[in-house]
Symmetry: C2
Subunit: 409 residues, 2 copies
């Protein structure tokens, strides 16, 4: 008696994760492409796709007429299941927070507008954040398989503490990841395995923005992606290597804010002068443009608005843009010499700078980097809305992208 009928649906454990990742990032529109990308046979790719469909993660559009292709038998389109599970993503920032449900493919399914709730106690803030997310979940009626949080602070690994949550009035070293995890358990937010509470994945917001841009935005396809950007104050960096966030040995890599870009520049709290941090952030821009800075929280919006409306009319604005581009270019050149990225994506105020005068920025980088003359790194603005939020969702998806069978296989 050999009734070993366990095959067929149990297939593809090893390549199941990579296959889901390919559909998730839009790099596998059909099973044929999936076959090539995974380097497996058509049989395997077909079985894997069937398994992912059975798990409710992707769809195969088999309707007659939906097939497409130039020659030979047409393909059926592979896509993320729009009715599939979601993750709870959240971002806290100086203005308050934002919670959202995010599906595979980085699609934001529902979002609760940012509520103002700056409070010195992280447990209270994260409690409200999770509560808002849980409400979204209940209203949507969808299955939740994880949760991720973006914070405006360096996050130490592997303990998940926030080292410098300057804008949140939290104490340095707050155990954000543990607190977030506890809040998720209190609100009974489930993780990938049914009926077990979600782990509270947490990371720095710019790091997560980088991850999101790499998978769904301006960083797609880059092997060594460098992301640099400002928030309201200061400058942060992130590196995505071979598709994974590089956070260094203890989560503190890419603290690029204190590269010297002007030996005679402003004094910085780090003790040096002319750091990237104080020379290319919104405050420095407003000063260079001769504008009175408004409330700290909206310095970034104020700078954006200024560049958008007065770049062509006010020469001081144009000069300020050029000054910041020169400083930023110097800093990026230093990073290019050390990291040798194949693409640079800029966020925050820096995004506006590259949008306004990308040629000047690229020229400065090429001129000041050692090997710049031969080639030159592409420097592009980021393209995703809410990239930190989408990045937080990526963090939550990761266990499933590593092993989709966690769902219930």
């Amino acid at each position: 008696m050999t009734l070993t009928r366990t095959t067929k649906l149990e297939r593809g454990r090893g390549v199941l994760g990579p296959a889901l990742a390919l559909v998730h990032t839009g790099r596998a529109p059909t099973r044929a492409v999936l076959t090539a990308e995974l380097g497996v046979t058509r049989a395997t790719a077909g079985a894997v796709a069937a398994e992912l469909v059975a798990l409710g993660l992707i769809t195969v559009d088999s309707r007659p007429g939906a097939a497409f292709g130039a020659q030979g038998r047409p393909s059926h389109r592979l896509a993320v299941d729009p009715d599939g599970p979601v993750v709870l993503a959240a971002q806290v920032h100086a203005d308050g927070f934002r919670a959202a449900l995010v599906g595979l493919g980085g699609r934001i399914v529902a979002t609760a507008p940012g509520c103002t709730a700056v409070h010195a106690d992280p447990a209270q803030v994260l409690g409200e954040v999770v509560e808002a997310g849980a409400t979204l979940l209940r209203d949507s009626g969808r299955r939740c398989v994880g949760a991720g949080l973006a914070v405006p602070s360096a996050v130490a690994e592997p303990d998940g503490t926030a080292l410098n949550p300057l804008h949140l009035a939290w104490e340095a070293g707050a155990a954000v990841r543990d607190i977030f995890t506890r809040c998720l358990a209190d609100a009974a937010v489930p993780g990938p395995a049914p009926d077990t509470p979600a782990t509270g994945y947490t990371a720095n917001d710019l790091n997560l923005a980088a991850l999101a841009e790499h998978r769904h935005g301006a960083g797609r396809g880059a092997q060594h992606l460098l992301v640099v950007g400002t928030g309201h104050r200061g400058v942060g960096g992130a590196l995505v290597l071979d598709g994974r966030l590089h956070t260094g040995s203890s989560g503190l890599a890419l603290e690029v804010g204190h590269l010297t870009v002007d030996p005679d520049g402003r004094p910085c709290h780090c003790g040096s002068r002319g750091c990237l941090d104080v020379e290319t952030d919104p405050l420095a821009f407003l000063e260079a443009a001769g504008r009175e800075p408004g409330p700290a929280v909206s310095l970034l919006e104020q700078s954006w608005e200024l560049i958008r409306t007065e770049y062509d009319t006010d020469p001081r604005v144009r000069t300020a843009v050029e000054t910041l581009i020169d400083r930023l270019g110097l800093g990026l050149a230093g990073l290019v010499n050390i990291l040798n990225p194949d693409r640079i994506v800029l966020a925050g105020l820096h995004r506006a700078l590259v949008e306004r005068d990308g040629e000047r920025l690229r020229a400065v980088i090429a001129d000041r980097s050692l090997w710049g003359r031969s080639g030159g790194v592409p420097v592009v603005p980021c393209t995703l809305d809410h990239n930190s939020l989408v990045g937080a969702a990526e963090l939550a998806w990761q266990p499933l992208l590593d092993d989709p069978l966690l769902l219930g296989g």
Copy 2:
């Protein structure tokens, strides 16, 4: 009739490579440890070890009395086979070159002393290098399974051209890897597969030194290893991430020589002032110590000698050491902020600096790096002789470490 006797010796394709790497780096002294490190069952580990023995790569010391262990059944020692295959490793530098045969475990089996042969034509130099290696091979009568070359120049990927072979009188952009491969074919130096010529793996000497130190020297066990060091002139860096050399998107990463460490310092050919390159190399040291620099080629030896003999007697030497340590510390702090390594290994002149006053260096780094106060990165001198040579051998071993069955399975 089911005579499917193909099992048993064909076992362990997937874990064979990692297993060899563990024995190669000395992290698997017994099959029991191998079992734990690989995360497989004892049965698999045993079969894998037997396979590696059959391939002639490792030995299991089964002699009675050679077993050891605290409790329970004693273990037999696993070791690299001292009579196993070797690779041809070579290094070219300003003084000439050195060729060697290197066995698994980074053991130098035979070496030809450096001959002086600085010539403007890389093909001629590499021809002599390979000839010397081939002679060593013939004399030893051992099986050769690959070849690696270390050059004092940035090597561009994936084309393998030398971008700045300053000390070799070669033209920039020389196709070193191709030339090396051709010389190997001319001399009939075999690669891993029998009777097929070796590929001429080539990389920067400091990068290879870093790889060697990570696998067999001061960098063992580090996950994020930063190596910085000088040659005769200039400063180079290298990063080993999760056991693999990180060379950036085109082989040009870790060009750390042009970090600014003294805004008022010496002018550098890069256009800036006070670069790490010109502030912490042997020439800068000799100047700071008030010594007349000798012939450029031996500036490093001259500096070493000076530190060894006059550090305790001549206050100018001590001051020069401290000055360079302060400058180097500033540069390393910048790198720590960007890369967040868990260990730093110093080579060349920098090795002597950390040996003389490591405390001062660590203090400077901790003081100038953002998160230095909480922890502090271990900074240690390199420990291997001829680490670039051993690193070149690692490059040659790599295909076999990825799949030992290349040998003839």
